[in-house]
């Protein structure tokens, strides 16, 4: 995002008004609170209606990386990145496997956090703690990446390196203020505003793209010519390795992203089962317009903006915005809406992650292990305090790690880790015979194997993948095997003894 023209006063007023509206919503959400309980703070009293639930699912699932990173990915690998359409659709298909049943159970058992289900289902402290720690690690890294991305956007908008830290601190404080004022109610309402800005911004983007760069047929023909000259496959049929990677993405993102703690909490927060199902039904169609716009943006850039390679391809969205800014006064206006939409996408992802971290730390670590007698009011206050502490630590890390990408690169491993939790949640909800200990050892073995395959350079691994398959997907095989076979033999053993 370092390629933008400097923004005028009008643009800054627009962005400031948007940020101010988030604080007002936070204040209004605080006024709308019905009681000082964990359920009211972290799940909005379990009363999210269809519109808000759908928009909060949407804003949480599509982060800033979806727009910046995916356009860069299209620029690098061409039309094959249409695989992103499939993996975003597969998330909703995976919800189908467990969300309706989990929602009904959550209403009956009053779940607040994802590990609450594990506690109820397996009644095993060690397994619950392991799952809580994995979820906290994944979310903290994810939140850190969002904070760093927010800083880079602010740096890109102002054209000044020093505004990176200003961006991280100011936007993070806005998030924490409205988040601690209104809890999930504030987060979901702001997500709704952010979701609407995203939809408007990207609908207008596609029109401007065609006006500026011409038809898609021309772009595709240019890329086909480039394929012939450079011996690449950016518009041609992908090779076997890419097809294997395609299948791997569908499975790992589907299971991994559907198990995001913040997504599970939205399943709990739905007003009723019908509301949840209707929201998910709309969500299943959302990847088509969004991923198509991202794909077309990347394809237009690939055909008309030359010379980007490697890490620089992630700058391609900023370059498209600059082209649009230069195009006309309307283009300038559109680029402001899109910038706000990207900030919105990052903030909505960050606020949900922060709220989830705070809820799991309060309920599954503090309450379960340190203070069983704590009142709901005390726990809510501890949750708010913990949000502040977590965020301040992460702001500090985001500033000192400004130019260190290796930590954020770990984020690529989040799917490999999250999918290891699938047997506990998805098998756990359907298969009554599943036992805690085999699940525990399955997760341990699966996680270790996924990390070893990802970071150790074996002869059969390439760029952290095994013949195009994600290490997490290979590791889930022994994980599921241990969980099922272990549970079966444990059951027989208990029967005989």
């Amino acid at each position: 995002m370092n390629n933008l023209l400097p923004l005028g006063l009008g643009a800054w007023i627009f962005i400031s008004c948007y940020l101010l509206s988030l604080l007002i919503i936070g204040w209004y959400a605080k006024k709308s609170r019905k009681e000082n309980t964990l359920n009211d703070f972290y799940l909005a009293g379990g009363g999210l209606g269809f519109g808000v639930l759908f928009l909060t699912f949407f804003a949480t699932q599509y982060s800033g990386n979806t727009f910046l990173g995916f356009t860069g990915a299209t620029y690098r690998i061409g039309y094959s990145w249409i695989l992103s359409l499939h993996f975003m659709t597969s998330i909703v298909v995976c919800y189908l496997l467990f969300a309706p049943k989990l929602h009904k159970l959550s209403k009956k058992q009053k779940f607040i956090t994802p590990p609450d289900f594990i506690k109820y289902r397996f009644k095993d402290k060690l397994l619950t703690l392991l799952i809580t720690i994995i979820m906290l690690l994944v979310l903290s890294n994810y939140l850190l990446a969002q904070l760093m991305a927010m800083g880079r956007v602010m740096q890109g908008i102002t054209g000044n390196e020093y505004f990176y830290s200003f961006g991280v601190v100011s936007l993070a404080f806005i998030i924490i203020i409205y988040g601690t004022m209104g809890g999930l109610r504030a987060v979901a309402w702001t997500d709704a505003i952010q979701g609407i800005i995203l939809i408007i911004g990207f609908s207008v983007l596609i029109i401007i793209l065609f006006l500026k760069f011409g038809s898609l047929i021309d772009a595709t023909n240019i890329i086909l010519e480039q394929d012939k000259l450079n011996n690449t496959r950016k518009a041609l049929i992908p090779d076997a390795q890419t097809c294997r990677q395609w299948l791997s993405y569908i499975i790992i993102v589907g299971f991994g992203l559907s198990l995001y703690p913040q997504a599970i909490q939205r399943i709990y927060a739905a007003k009723n089962l019908q509301t949840l199902k209707r929201s998910l039904a709309i969500m299943s169609f959302i990847p088509i317009p969004i991923m198509m716009i991202i794909l077309i943006s990347g394809i237009m850039a690939l055909a008309h903006i030359n010379g980007l390679e490697g890490v620089a391809t992630d700058q391609v969205f900023g370059m498209i915005l600059r082209e649009i800014q230069n195009y006309s006064i309307i283009g300038y206006g559109v680029s402001i809406i899109i910038l706000s939409a990207i900030l919105a996408a990052m903030m909505s992802t960050a606020d949900s992650a922060l709220l989830s971290i705070s809820s799991m730390f309060t309920k599954d670590i503090y309450f379960d292990h340190y203070d069983k007698e704590a009142s709901e009011k005390k726990l809510t206050n501890i949750g708010k305090f913990c949000s502040w502490v977590f965020l301040i630590v992460l702001i500090f890390l985001a500033i000192i790690l400004k130019n260190n990408f290796s930590l954020v690169a770990l984020m690529d491993r989040k799917m490999d880790l999250l999918i290891q939790l699938a047997p506990a949640f998805i098998l756990g909800i359907h298969y009554k015979g599943l036992q805690a200990k085999p699940i525990f050892w399955g997760i341990i073995i699966g996680t270790l194997l996924a990390l070893v395959l990802a970071f150790y350079d074996f002869s059969f691994t390439q760029k952290g993948k095994v013949y195009g398959f994600h290490p997490g997907l290979i590791a889930i095989i022994p994980n599921v095997f241990i969980a099922i076979i272990g549970s079966y033999y444990k059951k027989i053993f208990i029967k005989f003894t």
Partner: protein, 62 residues
């Protein structure tokens, strides 16, 4: 019936991933390579099936 729907999803994935196309196919349809159109239609079919299962099928089960 559950197995039937799982098989349907598997068929959609098998058709949508362009592993079976000949290497040099470069038919362009409405600006997209034809294999991309098939991938988009595959995704659309999966969305329709998911919506059906969410709204119609599970309502019957309840």
């Amino acid at each position: 019936m559950r197995i039937f729907y799982i098989i349907l999803y598997i068929i959609i994935i098998i058709i949508s991933i362009p592993w079976y196309w000949s290497d040099n196919t470069n038919i362009v349809f409405y600006g997209f390579p034809f294999w991309v159109i098939i991938a988009i239609l595959g995704s659309f079919s999966a969305s329709c099936l998911t919506t059906y299962l969410l709204l119609k099928k599970s309502k019957d089960n309840e």
